[in-house]
């Protein structure tokens, strides 16, 4: 009976402490919004980046070339036009100036037609400032067009001489991609993976610093410690307060991204990206321990520092972890087994697999979650112990 009532008291106190932390965290709406800004910007960044990438990959905007001697090779000019390589004289007014400045010139020799009929090699001259970055892609396209047009004529010449034109392709390399058919656009999944990690680490950051180093400087911490509550309760309350904000950040990234990827036509590049409810829930479940882990790390470090300022700069370095570790992991070709167990590294590998469409390895999921939670618990317990010492509370050393 007594055990039960003391337990109730313990929980009641914890609840009051958590409410206090929530009040603190949610009081300054603007600060909170800024803290969640990262999460809000993620989908915007993802959509913008994808749109730019897709445009680069598939769009072939018109290129205007200053042809000298277009009249000697009407069929070549027609072939160019079919590939959106057009004559400068036909450029619309608003684009004419730009292309006149780029000044890509092609000279077609006067005896093109007779040389073609007689089977003599013909030289076309392409003049431009090749160091100009804007000239690069058009030149590449002109090059490809000339090569394929030339080849198609060559093929016909041999065919009409009774040669089996398949002789010209002794080898064909057929690429077979073993990625799952429903594998997603790699850019989006990589960005989303990193954003999720960042959201987990960054959203709760200001709350964690404020409720530790901040409260110490405002002398609120002393007040708290004077109350008849244990230091473990105080740490737990602060942890829950900060990690709640992290979780909100992660949920926001997931929800907003799943809504906004619909705005990009990924099918243009033969890819797709859907963040369905199952995947979102799996990701959220995977990242929950990370949210607590991040807040625990931040609280731990912030309490070790001497001032609010120092806490800010030191904890900011911690943000490097979520950005850096997944990057390193994705660069590694041979991944040692123990990486599976490490917090952040383990999760980011599972996230990568989820986006690749590989079935989730629930054992690895469980393992990395357990390790992450274990480290979090250790941090909390050690921190609670440390808070009993005046050194930490008063920032003496």
């Amino acid at each position: 009976m007594r055990d039960n009532s003391s337990m109730n008291l313990y929980l009641y106190q914890l609840k009051s402490l958590i409410l206090k932390e929530y009040k603190e965290a949610f009081r300054d709406k603007r600060a909170l919004l800024v803290a969640l800004m990262m999460a809000l910007l993620a989908p915007v960044a993802i959509v913008l980046m994808s749109k730019i990438m897709i445009e680069k990959l598939v769009d072939e905007p018109p290129v205007y070339v200053n042809f000298n001697g277009a009249e000697y090779a009407p069929k070549l000019i027609k072939y160019f036009a079919d590939n959106n390589l057009l004559n400068l004289v036909d450029a619309p007014v608003d684009e004419k100036l730009i292309w006149q400045q780029r000044n890509i010139v092609m000279d077609i020799p006067q005896d093109y037609e007779t040389d073609m009929a007689q089977g003599k090699p013909i030289k076309l001259y392409l003049r431009a400032d090749f160091t100009d970055k804007a000239v690069g892609p058009p030149v590449r396209r002109i090059n490809n067009a000339v090569r394929s047009y030339s080849l198609s004529i060559g093929y016909k010449r041999l065919l009409l001489r009774g040669v089996d034109v398949r002789l010209l392709n002794p080898l064909t390399l057929v690429e077979q991609d073993t990625a799952k058919p429903d594998a997603t656009f790699i850019l989006i999944s990589m960005m989303l993976g990193i954003y999720l990690m960042l959201a987990a680490f960054m959203s709760g950051l200001s709350v964690a610093i404020d409720s530790s180093a901040g409260e110490r400087e405002r002398n609120v911490l002393e007040m708290l410690l004077c109350q008849p509550v244990s230091t473990l309760q105080i740490v737990l309350a602060k942890l829950i307060g900060a990690s709640t904000i992290s979780i909100i950040g992660v949920v926001l990234v997931l929800v907003l991204t799943s809504l906004s990827v619909g705005l990009v036509d990924l099918t243009k590049i033969g890819a797709t990206f859907t963040l369905d409810i199952m995947t979102s829930l799996t990701l959220l479940l995977l990242l929950l321990p990370i949210c607590f882990f991040a807040s625990a790390c931040q609280l731990f470090v912030a309490f070790q520092t001497k001032s609010f300022k120092e806490a800010q700069s030191t904890v900011s370095i911690l943000i490097g972890i979520p950005a850096f570790i997944p990057f390193v992991v994705s660069m590694m070709d041979d991944r040692p087994q123990w990486l599976n167990w490490l917090p952040v590294a383990g999760q980011s590998m599972i996230i990568e697999n989820i986006f690749k469409g590989v079935d989730v390895n629930w054992l690895a999921f469980l393992a990395t979650s357990v390790v992450t939670i274990a480290i979090t618990v250790t941090l909390v317990v050690v921190l609670a112990k440390k808070l009993r010492s005046e050194k930490v509370v008063m920032a003496l050393s």
């Binding site: 090779a73 069929k75 009929a117 065919l159 629930w362």
Partner: protein, 487 residues
């Protein structure tokens, strides 16, 4: 941890996929025989899905012999909004749809963005118990004449077929297609039929109209017109080519007497086949070219199917007139040694479903043309007597009148399925629209921008309200005028 998660997953699955669960039932019903796994197909870079399904060889004996039907699914790139898939019905008869995956993946890339594309090897082709035999591999296309086949060879070939060949007919093929539709869990599908695939499509419309959302018939072989009589249609296509050459300034200048030159060469070769010592176009070793008039016109006929081939025909004729057969040899070399159709199935279907309906008078009318006379009948006359006999019932020959949105496409220059064929179907199908593409030949959606119209039609299902403007941009046919290139 693992088990409850699976239960949650299952619950969520059930909650969010009420509509899909219906399909689940269908799959599990057939799951004892359906396999579907990731695979690589042709030259497609990404993985697609390949499957097999066991079906009765004879549908009136469901517990009798089973045959395995091979199929593939090119999965929709974005399947988030489920759209009914497109099944491709191959031509021939005798083409294996799965073998065409590489090209179809390219042609139907817009369709595939949001729809699965289903390819089924018709029974008797590809990996669906192909009706094939050694006869397919004619060693030397250059020295062999087209009538070199002996009755013994044909009998040997037929003897090699396994199973009850009379079951390898159009109606059973359609039953297979519909079983695969159901097994894949689709309540309805769209079908695209090209060439003979349109005949298959029409049979599909008659037998299982409730399975079809919409139909595209490209280069129609209607029930009303027996397959195999290509004399008149070939001559029409060839004469259009001659007219177009006349209209083209450069072609007319280079070949002012094209029609006359063609008749001269034909008569010359008809009098006596020529034999020339040549270098084998692929091997580079000495061999012989034996050429008679029917081999000459047969190879030209083959060029009439596509715009690229047509562009070379005037030049090939003119050079042959001058005594230079190298251009013709080059044309023959293009597909030498490649198997285009499974000839066993081709003959099995045409000899039994189409040829018996033709009278001697019909054949005489068809043979009365100035292009290749009765040469297009030659193969049937030679082979059909040796093939096992079956006869479809009378219902098979009734005009199809299903009220399904149908888009009909014809190329005006087509040597085998002229626009008049499409008119038969346009008349009998109430919800259809017939588009005749002026500057295109056989199977227009596979060779022109008509595939965009097909894509639009699959979405709107309104055959009469489609944007056909891109067809106007297809250029008039142009011709090569010199052996050194286009100009």
């Amino acid at each position: 941890m693992i088990l409850p998660w699976k239960i949650i997953k299952l619950l969520v699955w059930v909650l969010f996929t009420v509509t899909l669960s219906l399909k689940f039932v269908a799959v599990s019903f057939a799951s004892t025989v359906l396999t579907l796994e990731n695979c690589h197909l042709g030259e497609i870079r990404a993985q697609v899905k390949c499957g097999k399904l066991d079906v009765p060889e004879n549908y009136s004996k469901p517990n009798g012999t089973k045959i395995s039907i091979n199929f593939a699914v090119l999965p929709a790139i974005d399947n988030s909004e489920y759209k009914t898939p497109l099944m491709f019905l191959a031509g021939g008869p005798g083409q294996a749809a799965v073998e065409l995956a590489t090209a179809l993946n390219r042609v139907f890339r817009e369709v595939r963005k949001t729809r699965d594309i289903i390819l089924v090897d018709q029974r008797g082709t590809g990996e669906s118990s192909a009706l094939a035999c050694d006869l397919e591999a004619i060693d030397n296309v250059y020295s062999a004449l087209s009538d070199a086949l002996t009755p013994e060879e044909i009998k040997d070939c037929v003897a090699q077929f396994k199973g009850d060949v009379t079951q390898y007919n159009s109606e059973n093929a359609i039953r297979d297609f519909d079983v695969i539709r159901a097994a894949l869990g689709h309540e309805k599908i769209n079908i695209y039929g090209g060439s003979y695939g349109t005949r298959a499509g029409l049979v599909f419309m008659r037998m299982f109209p409730e399975s079809l959302d919409s139909v595209i018939l490209d280069s129609v072989g209607p029930i009303e017109v027996p397959i195999g009589m290509f004399g008149q249609s070939g001559a029409r296509s060839f004469n259009l080519l001659i007219e177009n050459c006349k209209k083209s300034e450069s072609c007319h200048k280079a070949f002012p007497d094209l029609a006359q030159e063609f008749q001269t060469v034909k008569a010359r070769l008809g009098k006596e086949p020529i034999t020339l010592d040549i270098l084998h176009p692929r091997l580079g070793t000495p061999t012989q070219l034996v050429l008679d008039d029917s081999k000459f016109t047969g190879n030209l006929r083959f060029q009439l199917y596509g715009m690229r081939g047509r562009s070379m025909v005037p030049l090939v004729i003119h050079q042959a007139f001058l005594g230079n057969y190298q251009p013709l040899i080059g044309l023959m070399a293009q597909n030498e040694g490649e198997q285009m159709v499974y000839t066993g199935l081709l003959f099995n279907i045409v000899c039994n479903e189409d040829m018996p309906r033709l009278s001697a008078a019909d054949k005489a009318i068809d043979a009365n043309n100035d292009f290749d006379g009765k040469n297009s009948h030659q193969a049937w006359d030679m082979v059909c007597p040796y093939f096992p006999e079956f006869r479809p019932n009378e219902a098979f020959y009734q005009s199809v009148t299903a009220d399904i949105p149908t888009l009909i496409l014809s190329g005006d220059l087509d040597p085998v399925t002229p626009p008049s064929n499409g008119e038969f179907s346009a008349k009998s199908l109430p919800n259809s629209h017939h588009i005749i593409v002026e500057n295109a030949s056989h199977t227009v959606a596979l060779t022109t921008c008509a595939n965009e119209i097909v894509n639009e039609f699959l979405t709107s299902k309104l055959p009469k309200k489609l944007d056909e403007s891109c067809l106007k941009d297809i250029p008039q046919e142009t011709f090569m005028t010199s052996v050194n290139g286009v100009q």
